[in-house]
């Protein structure tokens, strides 16, 4: 039977020759992880159940990234619990603040996620690693506790949806715009429970960083996973971050999809998702002129090196509009350092931006740039739900880094090509 890449990975990890949508399987996982919000609950469950050892001390990752550097005593207590658990279990992959970054940028940068793997993380944006051709999905803390103990978990095989993008991208359009446009098309529940498979000549042309941004937001359409079959670009990336072997799966011709949707990518403008759902995406021209108080550039969607370079190119030699604050958070320590080496940090600081240590921070309204009542922000993050970045009466517009940087300079939402 012809199978999709997702079905092949799930079959290979559950000892089946093939699997089909709806089937319940128990599968071995290659990697599981949690952060400072979800891991403490998993650790509590683990202890309550009287479990003593994790299944593999190299395959359980703990990354404090949401409220770190510890923003208050509660956070400090949570990260302390993670640190102590990591020590007690001898985990080789516990990462201290200052030595990591946002989990979904850090994990692939370190070569810990690889093509063909089955990955679960107690965080909804775990779908990011699908960009490497792995099957990767978010779970709850109880599931993480089980995964940490047994190294396996049960899954229901999802149906797959096939999204094909062809055509050359316009200037200032990136993977973020493709996914915002897609979510706008199918809605925030358009891929509920399904694996979203992305392909086409446009995807082939996308950088890895842009592919990560796309898969990152599969959950924003309700997807269980986002996935792109590995190509030469994927393998070159993998080679640059890991010496470990990996397994490449691709969908068969004739594999079954619940739906197939095609896009002419050459017609897609930079997108802006209006408050308060990611599905409210429109071409930036329709958002043009909306005044903003804050711009945020960073997060697991757009905190990668390509994003920093794009923003810096736009901000070079310019100053922020006096009524705008701009918070820039590189995704990892490595990206932070590269920004310093390439002179990008200096561009941001001279423009008047707050440029600091990697953290989730304002993305989830945690710290480092919260909005007051009535304030508006343009942000490269992934969610613009009511109150996501602060006061319930504040508003978030989602965009790519070029639009966010240009808008920070202009003081209002603009197409980067219009920036003087």
């Amino acid at each position: 039977m012809s199978q999709t890449i997702s079905e092949k990975i799930l079959a290979a990890h559950s000892g089946n020759k093939e699997v089909s949508p709806g089937q319940l399987i128990e599968a071995k996982i290659d990697l599981c992880f949690g952060n400072d919000i979800t891991a403490p609950i998993a650790i509590e469950n683990f202890r309550k159940a009287g479990l003593s050892k994790v299944f593999d001390r190299e395959r359980v990752l703990l990354i404090p990234d949401h409220f770190t550097p510890n923003k208050d005593i509660k956070t400090a207590t949570q990260t302390k619990m993670m640190r102590e658990f990591a020590q007690e279990q001898g985990l080789s992959n516990y990462f201290e603040v200052g030595r990591c970054g946002i989990e979904h940028v850090f994990i692939h940068e370190q070569g810990l996620a690889l093509p063909g793997m089955l990955i679960v993380g107690a965080d909804s944006h775990t779908c990011t690693y699908g960009a490497l051709g792995s099957f990767s999905t978010g779970v709850g803390s109880t599931d993480l506790a089980a995964a940490m103990a047994l190294g396996r978990l049960w899954f229901k095989v999802p149906e797959s949806m096939l999204f094909t993008y062809n055509g050359k991208l316009q200037a200032f359009v990136s993977g973020k715009d493709l996914i915002l446009c897609t979510i706008g098309e199918i809605g925030v529940d358009g891929a509920l429970y399904k694996a979203m498979e992305f392909q086409g000549s446009t995807i082939k042309g996308l950088s890895m960083d842009s592919r990560f941004s796309m898969c990152n937001m599969a959950i924003e359409a309700g997807g269980k996973a986002g996935i792109i079959a590995p190509d030469a670009k994927t393998l070159a990336y993998v080679k640059s971050v890991s010496k470990n072997p990996c397994k490449v799966y691709k969908s068969d011709k004739g594999a079954q999809y619940s739906e197939k949707i095609d896009f002419d990518a050459s017609r897609i403008e930079p997108q802006v998702a209006f408050p308060s759902l990611p599905e409210n995406s429109k071409p930036v021209s329709e958002a043009s002129g909306i005044e903003i108080n804050q711009a945020v550039i960073g997060s697991c969607t757009n905190g990668r090196m390509e994003d920093m370079r794009i923003a810096a190119k736009i901000m070079k030699g310019k100053k922020l509009n006096p009524s705008v604050r701009c918070v820039i958070l590189p995704g990892t320590q490595k990206i932070y350092l590269d920004c310093i080496k390439e002179g990008i940090a200096e561009i941001f600081v001279r423009a008047g931006c707050s440029f600091s240590t990697p953290t989730c921070g304002p993305c989830l309204g945690g710290h480092m740039g919260i909005l007051a009542e009535g304030e508006k922000a343009i942000s490269t993050t992934n969610r613009n739900f009511v109150g996501r970045m602060g006061h319930p009466k504040s508003e978030v517009y989602l965009s790519n880094p070029a639009v966010a940087a240009a808008s920070a300079i202009a003081g209002k939402i603009v197409h980067p090509k219009e920036l003087k």
Binding site: G22, Q23, L24, I25, E26, N45, K48, A49, G50, L51, S52, K53, V139, G140, T142, D143, A145, A146, A149, L150, W154, K156, L192, Y193, G222, K224
Partner: protein, 164 residues
């Protein structure tokens, strides 16, 4: 595992706020949660339910929040299983992880009426409607899922498995 009881019918899109309203989430006591199960649709629901009864619903049962309290409330109200045309993804996971058997079976969900006597065989997925002398078939739960449920949930299963 044989499950047997009266059917309680519900519509499409029964969300987690109906199953257990957020105002009661300040407790995790299963008995307390169970006493408020479905009360915004039917105030007397938990009083009328007998042990073993079965919820039969339409599409997208359990949509909304990821609260694990929802399957806990249903299970502790005495409901032996839920049959629906379809389930929301996180509710589906949580139900199994909390030890509540669930069956996706559009045929059964459409044909069963309120009050019908139902018998479900978890191993085979056969659903018998004793009142109407009909039978329907859901996909059977694989043995490891049956084990999770018979042990009362995922953490108990993990405990047993990790002793092996």
């Amino acid at each position: 595992m044989q499950l047997k009881g009266k059917a309680w019918k519900f519509n499409d899109n029964i969300d987690t706020d109906v199953i257990i309203p957020a105002r009661y989430l300040n407790t995790s006591d299963p008995k307390e949660l169970a006493s408020h199960c479905m009360e915004d649709i039917d105030k007397e629901f938990t009083k009328k339910v007998s042990h073993g009864d079965i919820i039969v619903a339409g599409k997208n049962f359990g949509c909304g929040s990821s609260r694990e309290h929802a399957p806990i409330a249903i299970k502790n109200a005495g409901i032996s299983c839920v049959i629906a045309e379809s389930f929301a993804r996180i509710f589906y996971r949580n139900s199994i992880n909390m030890g509540l058997p669930i069956f996706e079976c559009p045929g059964a969900a459409q044909k069963i009426s309120q009050g019908n006597e139902i018998e479900v065989n978890a191993e085979t997925g056969e659903i018998k409607n004793l009142s109407r002398n009909e039978s329907y078939r859901a996909a059977p739960m694989p043995p490891f899922i049956q084990r999770i449920i018979s042990l009362g949930g995922l953490m108990e299963y993990v405990k047993q498995e990790s002793k092996k």
